[in-house]
Symmetry: C2
């Protein structure tokens, strides 16, 4: 069953265009992760937070990615990571034109 | 600028099909909210949480909806509501096939 992964964390680094330069290789590598369907990159300069909303093919691949990504962020000195997995309610999401 | 609204909260109520029956009218009303582009309905039976990922046309409409929705949930005895607004990093999201 498709699984939504919601991730956010404190982030002091560059956002916007500079973040694109720094993170392009990471974004390309994320396309190679097993089960990854799409990711929306999120950023908030006022609250100094960033993160992502991901859709995965199933819960196992979402959970494996969250573990890998949390370890990577920890190695960069970023945390705590707020990571949550959710099932998607399909019929209600369809009413609201969700891009699933 | 398009704004992503991320909402989750403790939820003991029915999920899946029963939630569709109970929440269909709410979902239809959400389509009438100013600036709403789409919503993905999220649910997790193991952690007893639910919520939604929304895309809005701009920050003001996302913030206004979060205030309205938080008040509605509080009136239902649901909380605390974890609600966060984010800008979207467009180029990185495009690399990861984000449905924006």
């Amino acid at each position: 069953m498709k699984t939504l992964l919601q991730v956010d964390f404190p982030y002091q680094g560059p956002m916007g265009k500079e973040m694109v330069s720094q993170m392009r290789a990471l974004a390309e590598s994320i396309n190679e992760e097993p089960g990854m369907v799409w990711k929306i990159w999120t950023q908030n300069e006022q609250t100094a937070e960033a993160g992502g909303i991901y859709l995965f093919e199933d819960e196992a691949s979402a959970r494996a990615y969250l573990e890998k990504h949390s370890a990577r962020l920890a190695a960069w000195g970023i945390g705590p990571v707020n990571g949550k997995l959710f099932a998607v309610n399909g019929p209600l999401s369809t009413i609201n034109r969700a891009p699933l």
